[in-house]
């Protein structure tokens, strides 16, 4: 490996190395995670007590909007793309991604998109304030002038995601080491392959919907304007046609990560590999035909409500297959509870809670009560925080020794886990109760009866936020640590990534490895 990384800043600007790009994605998403987290804490600080204390309602709306956008598009998605960049070539025995130059471009347009989005906070009229779902006409007729920057930011991050997804599909289909058949691929690779197809199918729809907004605002068209013959409900249909597959984009790679970690620490092969692949594909397929369950209250015919209700409930079947497979993998295994395993077990339990509240929401007649309440907020935070975020953290603790060559401090990792776990449940569990009692989401003030639960949630949120500073410390301390990791890092882990030295050399698998 005579050819090492270039020196200085140009290494990062011009790099086409999948490991460099993966690291940049991960650092970027960590930065966005912290910024989005600060926005969340502004929300929770305001909701600590009833009444208006800290921010005015207009700014509160900007915070809910920006928190959602930053976390979805800035934290979760780039983190998964970063993990894909780092791990997919290592897992399939490829020297790099199939399209390394495009890889560089797809990363480097992201910081510009998010600078543009964040800059709206300092503009006249403020940042977008219409919620991360940006329903028209709130996001068209009544939007602040900065909406145009929001639209272009979404265009750029969409382009980035599409390029990333194309790269991943092409890499997986063409760059596997000889002998690695599709059904021998690690599940992380499988789930990312399916996720990439979802991205390719729906990110253009997101680009389409913001383009229609742009034309309605600036060029006098009336896609979503009733006065000109359009229909605001159309916006919701198009948005959720993108939005529902999007929620699976944020969870399928998590399934892959957990499916890699649990067998290692249960010291048993994954139970039901093939059923995992089929379950993931079924979830991806079903995600295209359930979108209107987000809009049961817009006034759909009963036949429509029933179709979307039953189709949504059907998703519980493949998801249940996965949960039972993870549980069966752990059953009678020689379990140890290192930090990645703790995060993974928490993932299985808490994601199941989130899935079950989703099942409650899917019941159309009951949804009329839950719609736009804190119950919905509790539901999607239970699937996204312990789902997407915990799996990413599990993945970071699991693969960090391979990336930087040093072992993290197990005690610190466990402290981080337990603080995050307690903080998360304190924050989001009470939201179920206030939601069922009727507290609406996205409102800066609330009725006195919700005061106690909201105070608990706010305390939990600050605990969760503080725990993430510990995470940053753990990562930095591990990189600077002198405690070297072995090649295998863990006890008999499965996968090609554990056959290369720790830290993984700049170039790996220039000669395809033999596949057993």
């Amino acid at each position: 490996m005579a050819h090492g990384p270039a020196k200085g800043i140009t290494r990062w600007l011009y790099t086409t190395n999948h490991k460099d790009i993966g690291s940049m994605y991960l650092w970027f998403s960590l930065a966005m995670f912290l910024i989005g987290g600060v926005f969340a804490l502004v929300i929770r600080a305001e909701l600590f007590e009833p009444g208006l204390q800290i921010v005015d309602p207009e700014f509160f709306n900007q915070m809910t909007t920006m928190h959602g956008l930053i976390m979805v598009f800035g934290a979760v998605m780039p983190a998964f793309v970063g993990l894909a960049n780092w791990m997919i070539p290592l897992m399939i025995g490829a020297p790099d991604m199939a399209l390394p130059r495009m890889n560089n471009w797809s990363f480097w347009i992201l910081p510009f998109a998010f600078c543009m989005l964040l800059s709206t906070l300092f503009m006249d009229g403020g940042a977008p304030n219409f919620g991360w779902t940006f329903y028209a006409p709130l996001s068209t007729t009544y939007a602040p002038p900065s909406v145009t920057f929001f639209i272009f930011a979404v265009h750029i991050m969409g382009a980035s995601s599409i390029m990333g997804a194309i790269n991943i599909v092409v890499t997986i289909l063409n760059m596997r080491a000889p002998g690695m058949t599709m059904m021998k691929m690690p599940l992380f690779v499988w789930t990312w392959l399916i996720t990439a197809y979802l991205l390719i199918a729906v990110m253009p729809v997101l680009a389409g919907v913001v383009t229609m907004m742009l034309m309605d605002i600036n060029f006098g068209t009336s896609f979503f304007d009733a006065a000109g013959g359009g229909d605001p409900v159309l916006f919701q249909h198009v948005f959720w046609f993108f939005g529902h597959p999007e929620v699976y984009i944020m969870i399928l790679p998590a399934f892959g990560i957990v499916s890699a970690i649990i067998p290692t620490f249960a010291r048993k092969p994954l139970f039901g590999y093939a059923s995992m692949v089929y379950a993931t594909s079924s979830i991806a397929f079903l995600s295209f035909i359930v979108w209107a369950h987000h809009m049961f209250t817009v006034g759909m015919p009963v036949a429509g409500e029933l179709f979307f209700m039953y189709a949504t409930m059907l998703i519980a079947v493949p998801t249940g297959v996965k949960v039972f497979n993870w549980v069966s993998t752990m059953f009678r295994g020689s379990l140890t509870f290192e930090t990645p395993m703790l995060f993974s077990i928490a993932f299985v339990i808490l994601f199941t809670i989130g899935g079950l509240s989703g099942l409650m929401l899917s019941i159309a007649p009951a949804d009329f009560q839950y719609h736009d309440t804190y119950f919905v907020v509790a539901h999607f935070h239970y699937v996204l925080v312990p789902g997407a975020i915990f799996s990413i953290m599990a993945g970071v603790y699991y693969w960090l020794p391979k990336w930087c060559g040093n072992m993290y401090n197990e005690t610190m990792g466990k402290v981080h886990f337990w603080l995050a776990f307690i903080g998360l449940n304190l924050t989001f569990f009470p939201m179920h109760f206030v939601g069922l009692a009727g507290m609406p989401r996205r409102i800066p003030d609330y009725s006195l009866q919700f005061a106690d639960f909201n105070m608990i949630a706010s305390c939990g949120a600050f605990l969760f936020g503080a725990a993430q500073l510990l995470f940053v410390y753990n990562v930095v301390a591990t990189i600077r640590s002198k405690h070297k990791a072995t090649t295998e890092v863990w006890e008999n882990p499965e996968g090609l990534e554990w056959t290369v030295p720790s830290p993984a050399p700049y170039h790996t698998f220039t000669v395809a490895p033999p596949i057993k």
């Binding site: 599909v169 253009p204 229609m212 000109g228 229909d231």
Partner: protein
């Protein structure tokens, strides 16, 4: 997968195909989904969208039953016109052609243009409610202080389901003066 040029060709082919999917989905979102949605609403009466102009056909008026049609008028936010139906409701026989009027006044000092958007409940009655003439088919311009009677002629289809006894027709009046100016400047 052994031959590099073969891999290269396969990569190019797949990238082209995937980019094709991206373009197709973008086109689908902007140029296919909205018209498809309109067609879907026309067929199902979804959102209470009523159809376009109807050509009256000779049918036997069903004098055995009556359907009450209620009229509502709403001004969209910021629309200063006075806008109201002449009568709150009317009882009609299915198959009979009826004319009612809405009254509109522009109290401002400016010439303004408005567009009325209909919506009808119950949704399943939408396809049985035919308008032979409606002010909502066109935009309405009123000079400063001017008033107008806006006519609406309709037929309730004689096939309307038995359980529908009341139809509520609502018009929301939108101010489109600025949109027209924008469209003309483009």
């Amino acid at each position: 997968m052994s031959n590099t040029s073969e891999v290269q060709r396969s990569v190019t082919q797949q990238v082209t195909r995937l980019l094709g999917v991206v373009v197709a989905m973008f086109v689908f979102a902007i140029w296919v989904l909205p018209p498809l949605y309109d067609v879907f609403c026309d067929i199902t009466g979804l959102n209470g969208k009523t159809g376009g102009q109807y050509q009256a056909v000779n049918v036997v008026v069903d004098t055995s039953r009556q359907v009450r049609v209620q009229f509502l008028a709403t001004n969209n936010e910021g629309m200063p016109w006075q806008f109201a139906p002449e009568m709150a409701s009317i009882k009609v026989h299915p198959g009979e052609e009826v004319e009612v009027r809405y009254l509109a006044t522009n109290p401002t000092g400016l010439t303004m243009t408005a567009q009325a958007i209909p919506s009808l409940v119950p949704f399943k009655a939408a396809e049985y409610f035919h308008k032979t003439e409606c002010f909502c088919f066109n935009q309405q311009s009123l000079n400063a202080g001017e008033s107008a009677e806006l006519p609406l002629r309709f037929i309730v289809d004689q096939d309307i389901p038995k359980q529908v006894n009341t139809i509520t027709l609502s018009y929301t009046l939108f101010d489109v003066t600025a949109d027209i100016a924008l469209a003309q400047s483009n």
